[in-house]
C-alpha cells in the first residue's frame, strides 16, 4: 500500500495555550532518511510526534496517501529516553507482535532474532530496566523495527550515548534504511546528521525554516539562521 506522500497543512500542536510546533506545511516523499535539526526547544520532538500522530493537532491537517488508521499501523517511534517495560528483554521486543495477535512462541522466536541482530543476544532474559543506556536504546530500536514498519521516527536516539553505542545504532539504522524503512529522525549531532541525511529539515521556534536535500543544506543553507546554526553559533 502506498503511504507517501505525507502532507501536513497548517498543522499546529499546542499545549496549555503555547504553540509547540506549527503552523507546519510539509510534504514528505517515500524515500530515504530525513533528519530534523535545530537548537534545544526548537520543536523537533513536537514535530516528530505530530507527524507520527501521537500529538493531537490543534488545527490544520495531516494526511497520508492511505487511510490514517492503516498508516498508524505501519509506523514506529523511538523516544529520546527509551521506555522500558518492566519485563525481560525478549518480552519487551516481542510485545509489539503480541499486540497484533502473533502467537507467543513465534513472537519470542522473532524477538530473539532481533535481539541478536542489535547485539543484545547475551541479555535475553535480563530485566530491561537494568540495561545500560545504550542497550536500552538498542532494545527500543529492535522493538520499533520488529513489526517491519514502513516509517520509523526517531527522537534523538543517540543523545547521551557514547561513541561506540552511537556507531552501533547508526549501523542498525543504515541497515533498516537499506531494507526500505523510511527514517525520520531528529538529532543534535551535526556529524550524525551529515552521515545519515538524505534531506534535512531545519526547525526553529516550532516552524520549519528550511527543508532541503542534505548536500544542498550543508553546503549552503538559504536562511541566515541556518547558516548561523551550521557555524555553531547560538541561534535564538
Amino acid at each position: 500500500m502506498q503511504m507517501f506522500p505525507l502532507e501536513a497543512r497548517q498543522a499546529i500542536v499546542r499545549r496549555k495555550g503555547k504553540v509547540l510546533a506549527g503552523p507546519i506545511d510539509l510534504t514528505l516523499q517515500g524515500q530515504g532518511v530525513t533528519i530534523v535539526i535545530g537548537p534545544n526547544g526548537a520543536g523537533k520532538t513536537s514535530l516528530l510526534k505530530m507527524l507520527h500522530g501521537i500529538a493531537r493537532l490543534h488545527s490544520g491537517s495531516l494526511e497520508w496517501a492511505c487511510p490514517t488508521v492503516e498508516a498508524r499501523k505501519r509506523q514506529s517511534f523511538v523516544f529520546q529516553r527509551p521506555v522500558m517495560m518492566r519485563r525481560s528483554v525478549v518480552e519487551n521486543i516481542a510485545y509489539p507482535l503480541r499486540l497484533i495477535g502473533v502467537a507467543k512462541a513465534e513472537a519470542r522466536q522473532r524477538a530473539q532474532e532481533w535481539a541478536v541482530q542489535v547485539g543484545l543476544g547475551h541479555a535475553l532474559k535480563q530485566q530491561a530496566t537494568l540495561l545500560s543506556g545504550g542497550e536500552q536504546q538498542k532494545l527500543a530500536l529492535a522493538r520499533a523495527l520488529i513489526r517491519d514498519p514502513a516509517v520509523l521516527f526517531l527522537d534523538e536516539p543517540c543523545a547521551s550515548l557514547d561513541g561506540r553505542a552511537t556507531r552501533e545504532i547508526e549501523e542498525i539504522l543504515i541497515r533498516a534504511a537499506a531494507n526500505g524503512t523510511r527514517l525520520i529522525m531528529s538529532t543534535h549531532n551535526m556529524g550524525q546528521a551529515q552521515r545519515l541525511a538524505d534531506e534535512v529539515i531545519f526547525v526553529l521556534h516550532g516552524k520549519i525554516q528550511e527543508f532541503a536535500p542534505a548536500d544542498q543544506f550543508f553546503t549552503g543553507p538559504e536562511t541566515k539562521q541556518g547558516r548561523a546554526f551550521l557555524r555553531g553559533d547560538i541561534v535564538e
Binding site: 507520527h52 501521537i54 498508524r72 499501523k73 514506529s76 517511534f77 523516544f79 521506555v83 517495560m85 518492566r86 519485563r87 510485545y95 509489539p96 499486540l99 530485566q127 530496566t129 537494568l130
Partner: protein, 234 residues
C-alpha cells in the same frame, strides 16, 4: 501484665494442641477474608487501571470519592448490608443474613475502595512511564489495561495485601451481618470481642496473637510466592 503473659502461654497451648475450635474459627476467618479479597481484587484492580487510562468527565470526582471511601466506617457498612439482606430487605429472599456469604459481601464493600485507591496510585505512575510508548504502538484501551495490570503486578500485590490486612482485622461489619454464631459465623475478630466482653482476657489475647500470626504468615507467604523481594527493583 499477667494477662498478657497468660494470653501468650494460652495462645501457644492452643496452637500446640491444635484446639478444634481455634482451628475452625481461624479457617473461617481465612476463608471469608480470602474470598472477599479475591472478589474485591477482581473488581478493584481492573477498575483502577481503567481509571488511569481512560479520560472521562467525572473522572477526578470518581477518584476523590474512591479515596474518601477508603475511610468507610465498617459498622455503617455492616448496618447497610444488614438492612439489604434482612428478611424484609430487598435481598431478603436469598436468606444470606448471618451466613459467611453476608460477611464476605460486607468485607468486599469495605476493601474495594481501599484496593482500588492504592492500585490507582501506583498504576498512575506506571502509566506515566508507559503512556507515550503504548499510544505510539497503537494499543487498544483493553491492551493498555492488560499491560498495566501485568507489569504493575508487584505494586498491585501491595494494594491487595493492604486490603487483606483491613479485612482480616475487621470486626464491626461482620459482627452485625454475621452475628458471631458459634460453628457458623464466628471468626477470630468476633471471638475476641466476645471473650473480651465475657472478661476472659487470656483467651481473647490468645486469639489476638493467633490473628496477628495469621496475618503476618499470609503476607509473608504471598510475598514469597510472588518473589517480590528477589527480582529487580519492582
Amino acid at each position: 501484665m499477667s494477662d498478657l503473659w497468660g494470653g501468650l502461654t494460652q495462645a501457644i497451648w492452643l496452637l500446640v494442641t491444635l484446639d478444634a475450635d481455634l482451628v475452625e474459627i481461624s479457617l473461617r476467618s481465612l476463608q471469608v477474608t480470602l474470598t472477599a479479597l479475591l472478589i474485591a481484587s477482581a473488581f478493584a484492580l481492573p477498575f483502577a487501571a481503567f481509571l488511569v487510562v481512560r479520560r472521562f468527565r467525572m473522572r477526578r470526582m470518581t477518584i476523590a470519592v474512591l479515596n474518601a471511601l477508603m475511610g468507610l466506617p465498617p459498622v455503617v457498612v455492616g448496618l447497610v448490608v444488614y438492612v439489604f439482606l434482612s428478611r424484609s430487605g430487598p435481598f431478603g429472599v436469598f436468606g444470606l443474613l448471618f451466613t459467611p456469604s453476608a460477611m464476605i459481601i460486607a468485607q468486599v464493600i469495605i476493601i474495594v475502595p481501599l484496593i482500588a485507591s492504592i492500585a490507582h496510585q501506583s498504576l498512575r505512575e506506571l502509566w506515566g512511564d508507559y503512556h507515550d510508548l503504548l499510544i505510539s504502538m497503537n494499543t487498544t484501551q483493553f491492551q493498555r489495561i492488560q499491560a498495566l495490570l501485568w507489569d504493575g503486578r508487584r505494586a498491585l500485590l501491595t494494594a491487595a495485601l493492604a486490603g487483606f490486612g483491613r479485612a482480616i482485622g475487621e470486626v464491626g461489619a461482620i459482627m452485625i451481618v454475621g452475628g458471631n454464631i458459634d460453628h457458623a459465623t464466628r471468626v477470630l475478630t468476633t471471638a475476641i470481642a466476645l471473650e473480651t466482653g465475657k472478661g476472659d482476657f487470656a483467651l481473647a489475647l490468645a486469639l489476638g496473637f493467633v490473628l496477628i500470626a495469621l496475618a503476618v504468615t499470609v503476607n509473608l507467604l504471598i510475598h514469597r510466592l510472588s518473589h517480590t523481594e528477589s527480582e529487580g527493583r519492582w
